[in-house]
């Protein structure tokens, strides 16, 4: 009797735009155009590829999925027994259906949600799930800036099985997406941070001993340890600029207030001074004052400045001072970026980038730091 539940969500229209040169398929108008141009759905094919690989471990999990094109079809093609939940209008699925599927699977207590889609699908799932249930993406969309995807469908399946067997760890992965309005109207490519998911990762840096307790708990306690250490050392006469990310959020949790997960908040004397500030407001607040930036690396590549926290502009960094930047990261986070690979900065200002580069301290726990290379 398999005791693991694997959720499967197929976004049937993801990837439609790519082949015909469209950026994504969000928005009914785009979809209509794509279908008119005879685009063939890529996502179901990718999902099928992954499922076929999953069959080698069919006895180890129970598949839970949505009806028809949202998962049932591909499961049946592989002769995988699955539990069908929810209801959709066949042929007319929308983002709402994706969200419902994710919600229903979370309620059912699935151990992992495997989805086939792109950034848009990732965003929808993230909106509902957050960090509550581990998620892994089968790459099938055009836009894949998020760090939640495996390299290919086969690897996605193998990683999913590894995770269900307790042989893979979890890491925090950013859900990013291009600001479509900015692109279509002004032709600008700006990646925005939408949220975070907990995703299994490949590079196994620990012995794959089967572990019963969830590694999300381990990661949380690591973040709490970091937060405790930082809060203990907070100076009363200093503004603390808290950047996005769940590691930094743990500091706010410790102090007892809700942090803007995707934005920048300011704290002084252990109280929230301002929330979700932009560059202008930030500069005004810290003018002539002592301030420290508390930041955590973003993305699978490990950017500490330049992705998802553009409010921390070069001017802000200059005002605060290079020596007043506190970098936080759990060891899991650093290892998922890769030992030997540096953290990255891309502020837009070469001089600042240069000053930020070199070997820096990173707080990894209570009374623990590592020295890590930072590069532009």
């Amino acid at each position: 009797m398999p005791n693991k539940k694997l959720g499967l969500i197929v976004n049937p229209i993801a990837g439609l735009g790519g082949k015909v040169g469209l950026k994504g398929t969000d928005g009914e108008a785009i979809i209509k155009r794509a279908i008119k141009l005879r685009a063939t759905a890529v996502s179901p094919t990718r999902a099928l590829e992954a499922l076929r690989t999953l069959t080698y471990a069919r006895n180890e999990f129970e598949l839970v999925t949505y009806p028809f094109e949202m998962g049932q079809d591909v499961a049946e093609k592989c002769c995988l027994n699955s539990k069908i939940i929810g209801s959709i209008v066949k042929g007319k699925t929308t983002a709402t259906d994706t969200k419902n599927a994710a919600r229903d699977m979370m309620k059912l207590g699935v151990d992992l949600i495997l989805f086939s889609g792109g950034d848009g699908t990732a965003r929808d799932i993230c909106e509902v799930i957050g960090g509550e249930v581990p998620v892994l993406g089968i790459p099938a969309g055009v836009k894949m800036h998020s760090a939640v995807f495996a390299i290919n469908p086969k690897k996605a399946a193998e990683l999913a099985i590894s995770f269900l067997r307790g042989e893979a760890s979890l890491r925090e992965a950013e859900v990013m997406d291009i600001d479509e309005d900015a692109f279509r109207k002004k032709n600008k490519v700006v990646a925005r941070l939408y949220g975070y998911l907990q995703v299994p990762y490949e590079k196994s840096l620990v012995q794959p001993i089967k572990i019963g307790s969830s590694t999300t708990m381990d990661e949380k306690s690591n973040q709490e340890a970091i937060a405790e250490y930082i809060v203990e050392r907070m100076e009363d006469d200093c503004y603390y600029i808290l950047c996005p990310g769940t590691t930094v959020k743990a500091i706010a949790d410790k102090l007892g207030f809700k942090k803007t997960l995707l934005g920048v908040d300011i704290v002084k004397k252990r109280r929230m001074i301002a929330m979700d500030v932009n560059e202008e407001k930030l500069l005004k607040l810290i003018e002539g004052e002592k301030a420290k930036i508390v930041v955590s690396p973003i993305g699978g590549q490990g950017f500490i400045f330049g992705r998802g926290n553009q409010q921390i502009s070069p001017q802000v960094i200059k005002k605060v001072g290079i020596d007043n930047i506190i970098i936080l990261a759990t060891e899991n986070k650093l290892h998922s970026i890769g030992p030997g690979k540096p953290l990255l900065v891309d502020t837009g200002d070469d001089e600042i980038n240069k000053q930020l580069s070199g070997y820096k301290r990173v707080v990894t726990g209570y009374n623990k730091e590592v020295i890590w290379k930072v590069s532009a």
């Binding site: 620990v206 001993i209 572990i211």
Partner: protein, 469 residues
Amino acid sequence: MLLQKRIGVISVPIHQYIPNSVPEIKKNMLEYLGVKDIEELFVDIPEMIKCKKRLRLPHPTPELQVRRNIEGLLSKNKNRNEMLTFLGAGCWPHYVPAVCDEINSRSEFLTAYTGDVYTDLGRYQALFEFQSMIGDLIAMDVVSFPTYDWATASGDATHMAVRITGRHEILVPKTMSPERLSVIKTYCQRLAEVKPINYDPITGQLDLKDLKKKISARTAAVYIENPTYLGFIETEGEEIGKIAHDNGALYIVGVEPLSLGLLTPPGEYGADIVCGEGQPLGIHMNFGGGLFSFLACRDDEQFVSVIPHRMITITSTEHEGEWGFAYTLPKRTMFAARERATTFTGTATVLWAITAAVYMSLLGPKGITELAEVIMQKAYYAMRRISEIDGVMAPIFKSPHFKEFTVNFGTDQTVSEVNKNLLKHGIQGGKDITKEFPQLGNTALYCVTEIHMKEDIDRLVAVLEDIVK
């Protein structure tokens, strides 16, 4: 060195322990590596730090001479077969059954290290049997791998208590072993404050009033030793545990295992964590090198997750009816968590744990009960007879004693003088504890076990009588 002048020097560098030290073999291997000079392999060591001169050590010595040299040195010692000894205080002279030495000289047990259960099933099973028999002896369900000694185990127990309760103070009896106290303090620096509790001057028992006064919401644990360092039994074990628990503190009990043949096991009077000295369980004194300790706790996930040593659980295998073993919660320890670990034991004392398993198997339930009775009776006899000497009191405290007891020599002679005189008669007297416990005056700590025959005790008494006059 005198040694070198007398022996034949071996100059040919073929060593009996090094199969590849034959020049021909080295040449072949270097050829395979494409290296002309073996020094090329050491290229990473900067030239300036390489030793240029021969170390000032002996020349290679043949086994015959090594034996003579060391046996000659060891003959300058007087071991317990040659001298009647009444020393205890943390390391005790007990009889070691021949089977114990037989099993711990098996080269497989002696030369194995950290193999997995597939190659080292025997080692794991013996360890599980050790864990189990200790568990039965102390009445606790979770027992971990052995550690260095009772002192470091009590340090580990303190770390556990701090982690579990989040408090930073431990209360200890003033009668505890000063060596163990020193070690706990070293382990507790920056982590917990160690506060002593008074004892009743007549009975020696832990002063419950003082305990109630000093315990607070800051206390992580109350630690007692039973029997105490000074040899008597803490009879209020259960009450002490209640006081600890009533204040939200944990109860740590350190024990001497043979006494548990007669005494209630700490698991039955409220102990949360138990440690103790395992040397009496079939291990020679080895000048203090035979020490090892066990650490045990309640079967509670919170405790198990902070116990700082490895431990194994019994399990099944793919084959029905076959026993297997696996590490419990392997991610807890240093080996997975580096700085977050509570402590850091690595290579500890497994060979002694296996020996203890053999010892406990030989004794069986009847054996340990009988042994404890025999020891207690012999000690009692010794105390009575010594007390008959004028001016000497044994024991000082009016409590039941197990195998050790205090002997006070009044004001005429210091313990040091008494011991010097005893030595002239080939007797090693008890430990001089005048510096450790000045409030007890000229007092020594004597130990009597199953190895002491009536004649031995009578001889001690006769000589003491002489000396004291």
